[in-house]
């Protein structure tokens, strides 16, 4: 099911007015700096914080609408939520944690068997009798997800789901989570301050700054065409989906990239515009990716010029204004682009 929300509230002097929507099967990232009001929006949708104005709907049913006096308490919203540090009940086993929601809702708790696809899909069978203190962070994340899903929620809310993990675990859990979210039939909302989480996990990105939405769009579009200074500094990267084999990535949109990676299969590549250098003649050197391309647009961003290049693959380069003047870069011009294999970040998708 879908979630549609316009959340109007305030915390002290800080006002929030944000519109957000997640359609069935879609994962939407709510990306923004700390203190932008992201978690408050999520809590409002879960019913943990009442809104002052606006409306929150699950499908077409309002669950919080001050104008009509509607407020469905969280226990009746059937919205699954995963908190940043997972908050598994410490006095219960993993199995009891997962069963908690069903018991509360008087659903048949039963035993975990083959019906419990999530217990299997999330690979929790061996953990069921353990206490939360006996499992790792990555496992706790999966248990929290299974617990939220056990009640067949109509939407899923994830508050910084990877922030509590160490860097090594984060990479693999992010891949698992993406795999899972792709198969989840209802709308998912993901709050994060880490652009990588948003890039890898989300279909669309909603950018929240100072309690206001500053940009909304498909992930690749928001990533490559940031419209605010915060986002440009944070992102401004180019994303390509593709298939990797032996370090060669065949991009979905055409063209190939050579990366130093051992990942195979479906991938997402992230390329920083600063990593691409532009030349009027074919450059010498050891860079693995060298190709001839045409400039489509040139625009100023901060103290850098962003140059978009026709593909394949389509990329954005960031160069200094001096370089633009020196190379005479203008739309329509033919140039050579160069990119090192080590400057392409590859994430399993």
């Amino acid at each position: 099911m879908s979630v549609t929300a316009r959340v109007v509230t305030h915390i002290g002097d800080f006002g929030i007015d944000a519109q957000i929507e997640a359609r069935p099967g879609e994962t939407v990232a709510l990306l923004g700096p700390n203190g932008a009001g992201k978690s408050t929006v999520l809590k409002a949708i879960a019913g943990l914080v009442p809104i002052e104005d606006g409306c929150i709907r699950i499908d077409s049913t309002p669950v919080d609408e001050p104008a009509s006096g509607t407020f469905i308490p969280p226990e009746h919203r059937r919205v699954g939520m995963v908190f940043q540090d997972y908050l598994l009940f410490p006095h219960m086993t993993v199995q009891q944690n997962i069963a908690f929601g069903r018991k509360s809702l008087k659903m048949p708790a039963g035993k975990f068997n083959d019906d419990d696809t999530w217990v299997h899909a999330l690979d929790l069978t061996d953990l069921l009798d353990r206490k939360p203190e006996q499992i790792s962070g990555g496992q706790a994340q999966r248990v929290a997800l299974a617990r939220a899903l056990a009640t067949n929620p109509r939407a899923l809310l994830l508050d910084e789901p990877l922030a509590a993990l160490d860097a090594a675990t984060k990479q693999s859990v992010r891949g698992e989570l993406r795999h899972f979210l792709q198969r989840f039939e209802h709308g998912s909302l993901l709050v994060t301050h880490d652009p990588l989480d948003a890039l890898v996990l989300a279909d669309r990105i909603v950018v929240l700054e100072d309690g206001r939405v500053t940009q909304v769009g498909p992930t690749a579009e928001v990533a490559s065409q940031p419209r605010t200074d915060y986002l440009a500094a944070l992102l401004g990267v180019t994303l390509h989906r593709g298939v990797a084999a032996d370090g060669v990535i065949a991009c979905e949109s055409g063209g190939t990239l050579i990366a130093s990676t051992s990942v195979t299969g479906d991938v997402i590549t992230v390329i920083r515009p600063q990593a691409i250098s532009l030349h009027t003649h074919k450059p010498e050197g050891s860079a693995r990716n060298v190709w001839q391309t045409t400039v489509t647009t040139v625009e100023a961003h901060h103290d850098q010029m962003r140059v978009t290049l026709t593909g394949p693959p389509q990329l954005t380069a960031a160069v200094t204004p001096a370089a633009v003047a020196e190379l005479g870069i203008a739309p329509g011009q033919q140039l050579w682009a160069r990119l090192k294999a080590t400057d392409i970040t590859v994430h399993p998708a």
Partner: protein
């Protein structure tokens, strides 16, 4: 932490002589009476003394009333602790002061206030008597009331502290999982503070067991009806010193047991 701070309280700290002297006097002051009690205990007659009618009746009454008082303190005190910890309301400071008052109020004054409220001509007591024929003072129920009055603050402050310390987001997660506020209380909140809850109940019970001033003032000192162990100690002291000592020994043993069972929480050792 600075070096100066770290050395405080460590075994290696060099104590000034005067500190050591007074510390030793303090220990002696607390310890010598215990030795005195043990030395004067008529060990040979102990079984006989403890099976006398006075002793067995006082012991039975003490156990029954202190357990009931602990139950009353728990049933009323946990909700009160929850409200104090989780709600904001006008007059909250006043309510907290009222809750803590029995901790500092001389118990005998507590007994007088109970008499003025629940005595036969008291604020509430006159109606209880006129309408229902209920007479609380000088009854076993009056003993339970007096004990609960004095013991409840121990439970309330212990549980309130624990409620303030747990991460309320656990309760929020439970709500999103479909748990009503009531289910959250019984299946998440109370289990998470179970250690503090048990400590609060034991403290309240121990306080109820030792209650003297409020009980004798409000409920009197009638053997078999309101004469609990501490009252029996006081009464028998004039008649039979040996019996008073034997009964004191029982109370001392109970107190020590409570202290040992709670040592992790109140003796500062690691929990």
């Amino acid at each position: 932490m600075t070096t100066a701070q770290r050395s405080v309280g460590k075994a290696s700290a060099k104590a000034p002589a005067i500190v050591m002297v007074f510390a030793l006097i303090a220990v002696a002051f607390l310890f010598i009476p215990l030795i005195g009690l043990l030395l004067e205990t008529p060990w040979a007659q102990l079984p006989a003394l403890l099976t006398s009618t006075t002793a067995t009746e006082a012991l039975r009454l003490s156990i029954v009333t202190s357990l009931l008082a602990a139950a009353v303190a728990t049933i009323l005190g946990v909700p009160l602790a929850w409200v104090l910890a989780r709600k904001e309301f006008t007059g909250q400071r006043f309510v907290r002061a009222i809750v803590l008052l029995p901790l500092v109020l001389p118990p005998v004054v507590g007994g007088v206030t109970l008499l003025t409220a629940f005595g036969r001509r008291g604020l509430v007591g006159q109606y209880l008597y006129d309408w229902f024929g209920i007479q609380l003072p000088f009854s076993t129920a009056g003993v339970v009331m007096a004990e609960a009055f004095v013991a409840m603050p121990f439970l309330v402050i212990t549980v309130e502290g624990a409620l303030r310390n747990i991460d309320t987001r656990y309760e929020q997660v439970a709500r999103t999982l479909g748990a009503s506020p009531r289910t959250v209380l019984f299946r998440v909140t109370l289990p998470m503070i179970s250690a503090s809850l048990v400590a609060g109940i034991v403290l309240a019970w121990a306080r109820a067991l030792g209650e003297f001033g409020a009980t004798i003032t409000f409920a009197g000192n009638f053997p078999g009806v309101t004469q609990t162990l501490p009252l029996a100690v006081y009464s028998t002291l004039e008649v039979s010193r040996d019996e008073a000592i034997a009964l004191s020994l029982v109370l001392l043993a109970v107190s020590l047991t409570v202290l040992v069972s709670l040592r992790g929480r109140f003796l500062g050792s690691r929990t």
